[in-house]
Symmetry: C2
Subunit: 143 residues, 2 copies
DNA sequence: TTTGGTGCAAATGATTTGCAACCCT
DNA sequence: AGGGTTGCAAATCATTTGCACCAAA
């Protein structure tokens, strides 16, 4: 199991708790789980888990590039399975109902990346958040 | 003064506190002020201000499209003067030192916008956050 | 056995809310 | 006058931290 090696290499231990956190987030790919949502889901499989462990585990898994942190402007940090550059995806946020959709696409073209390079900034990755109306809410507005 | 009319139209009142909050954020265009930073700055001109007023005023000014809320993944909400579509700008976030730079450009091309339209989403505006290394930190890494 | 890891409870920080007093219109 | 606003303090929420105990390696 690669996960275990990845941890051990850094002197970290792979515990039941860490494994279940990973499983839960992967199982719910496409949702954007907050820390407390993850806490609730982990409890279903491991009722003894403590909230503090969740809060200590999540940033750790993020640093190891196993999870990605996302911030959807709703007052809490959320996580999703890590997506390598080739699968970069972005978020469409409905300003009316709050629904979040994903678009899988490399939204920045060569030109745009050039503009950024000109600012002396070396980009590792990027995230685009688009605010607008989802189909449902756009139709309601017409009524 | 248009500001006053804009408020009165909605049955809202233009108070000294609200005016000073606007002034402070506009004066510091280019910085990305957190609520408590705004609180401190407002106090310089109006020492009686209460923190709760700041927290009530900021979302109000945002709804009125006088300010924009930004979330730079550092655990607090920040604000900057509202930028109409023509002046859309985005943020470069240094993952090492945390510095935030701005790029003024419409980073999404026609093609990319088309991709989003195909998702049945009508975009009002969007925000791009790019994570990477600023010039200074990139140079330090070489050392 | 030897650390790193965990649960729990208390501490922090950011933001919200109830309420009486206040002040734009 | 009258209702929107404010300051203050208490309440909430998300997240962090100290510490004794537990468990991977």
């Amino acid at each position: 199991m690669k996960l275990k090696e990845q941890f051990n290499q850094k002197g970290l231990r792979i515990t039941k708790q860490r494994q279940i956190v990973m499983e839960v987030v992967e199982k719910h790919k496409g949702r954007h789980l907050s820390s407390s949502e993850i806490f609730e889901l982990v409890k279903e499989n491991y009722s003894g888990i403590g909230l503090a462990t969740i809060y200590r585990t999540l940033p750790l898994l993020e640093k190891m590039k196993l999870l990605s942190k996302i911030c959807l402007d709703d007052g809490c940090v959320r996580y999703e399975p890590y997506a390598p550059k080739e699968q970069e995806h972005h978020h469409l946020i409905c300003v009316k109902c709050g629904a979040v959709y994903e678009v899988e696409a490399d939204l920045l073209g060569i030109e745009e990346k050039q503009i950024i390079m000109n600012n002396h900034f070396s980009t590792q990755n990027y995230m685009v958040k688009l605010y607008g109306y989802c189909k449902t809410c756009a139709e309601e507005d017409v009524v």
